[in-house]
Symmetry: C2
Subunit: 248 residues, 2 copies
DNA sequence: GATCTGCATTGACGCTCATCAAGCAAGCTC
DNA sequence: GAGCTTGCTTGATGAGCGTCAATGCAGATC
């Protein structure tokens, strides 16, 4: 299973005052380049649970990298239907969809008290011209988002409820593990309804499927506290959908 | 309805020998920059119906722009399930998902005899450093692909079969119209099964839904020949799903 | 023209998941 | 602690779409 959802190379979330380049920008910059980057990155901003980082339709100026906390992004239709397009944890980038039209194309909402770094896009763009490896990294980040989206399409277009949920849990597990957290014991930061919206299911189906997994002894569920008891069984469920377990 | 699926600004398909920059690259380059671009773009290559432009897993070197013809891109899982991730007509770019891992992440297959231009990516990248507007245009192209993918997620996650198919037909119509073709009378280049794979439906459901639309007098269906008789009714079906009618 | 093959249509049936509804637990406010 | 709100679980029911199967149509091949 490849980590398509955390597109960041050098990931260290252990220090509390780490600068952005440690969070989500590539190693391989020299000291001068680092200084240039530091000059562009804005101080981090804090958001309380439920606050909007940006809204669909707002002017686009910056990308945002999660430093701490948890966000969801979602597109909503005029009649109120909402589709969660992703959950974003530390080190991940949001706002890439805003570049095309200079307008944000989705909402980004904090799922818990969170902190982000702001990357003014036009300055990053011109910095990329001076630092080829930085430019290349940005292309890779955007491409990785496209790959992730494709795997979500496969999930939504081809998989059954159980497979979707198994893929979702495994993906969370793997992203948490890559950040140094426990892979098989974690807290969901989102509601059943938000999970359902992301997976194209109703909240009742999410709830029932979690219960079913628990009855089979594959996981343990205590509200938002999830333990993966037999992750290999979950993997067997999504086996064959190699592209699909990177949904995040 | 905005044209999220044809991310190309200056689109002229009228001349038969048009160079790539007229197909999919921005105006606003001076003569010298145009010459640089021409030096990078490879001669176009031809593909017969059914041939692969690239395959998932192959090394990534170039992006490809459709000059004439029609392609589909699809991801497939190990157990053979296939998800069509997009249909691509003249002026559209394929291969962006390959940048992240230096490996193509999907298959691209010609749906009819077709012609593409090859854009060696690393040379485009370095050219972008010299020509800021070109660099910016590439970021926009990639962002637009992300926006398109998000609207497909909304379609797959939230919409019913009729809504999906209506959105699909309207999107095709609109992309053809923007290329100077008839908006309400066109030939489908893909099979019912491929449409179904893209929309997360089975081919029988696609067929039945087309028949239903025809019975209601909204469209006329004669095999691959489609006429939109009352497109406003289709629009009413997807009304409220503003993000979703850009599925391509 | 006869046959073959691939694709599309249509019908019958059944499964998955959405819907509706009731009840429960945890966290608020007062 | 009572009462409210919010989110989750669980059950009953049915709609929508998938599955299986039969048939039909059109173009390709000989």
């Amino acid at each position: 299973m490849n980590d398509l959802s955390s597109p960041l190379h050098s990931l260290k979330v252990t220090c509390s005052n780490c600068s952005l380049r440690e969070l989500c920008l590539p190693v391989g910059l020299n000291r001068d380049e680092m200084a240039q980057l530091d000059a562009v990155i804005r101080q981090s901003r804090r958001f309380k649970r439920g606050e909007y980082l940006f809204r669909s339709g707002e002017g686009f100026r910056s990308l945002y990298a999660v430093r701490t906390g948890y966000f969801k992004t979602c597109v909503s239709s005029q009649d109120g239907r909402e589709q969660v397009t992703g959950f974003h944890m530390s080190g991940e980038l949001m706002g890439l969809d805003g570049i095309s039209s200079n307008t944000h194309g989705c909402d980004a909402i904090a799922l818990e008290d969170s902190e982000v770094c702001e990357l003014p896009f036009s300055r990053m763009e011109s910095l990329g011209r001076d630092i080829p490896s930085l430019q290349h990294h940005f292309f890779r980040l955007m491409s990785r988002e496209i790959v992730r989206d494709q795997s979500v399409m496969l999930l939504l277009g081809n998989m059954k409820a159980e497979e979707r949920l198994a893929a979702f849990l495994l993906n969370l597990s793997q992203r948490l593990a890559s950040r140094g957290f426990a892979a098989n014991d974690f807290i969901l930061r989102m509601s059943r309804e938000e999970i359902g919206s992301f997976l194209g299911l109703k909240l009742e189906t999410v709830s029932r499927t979690l219960s079913k997994f628990q009855q089979q002894g594959w996981i343990r569920v205590d509200h938002k506290h999830i333990q993966l008891v037999r992750p290999e069984e979950l993997k067997a469920l999504v086996a064959g959908c190699s592209q699909a377990n990177s949904a995040g």
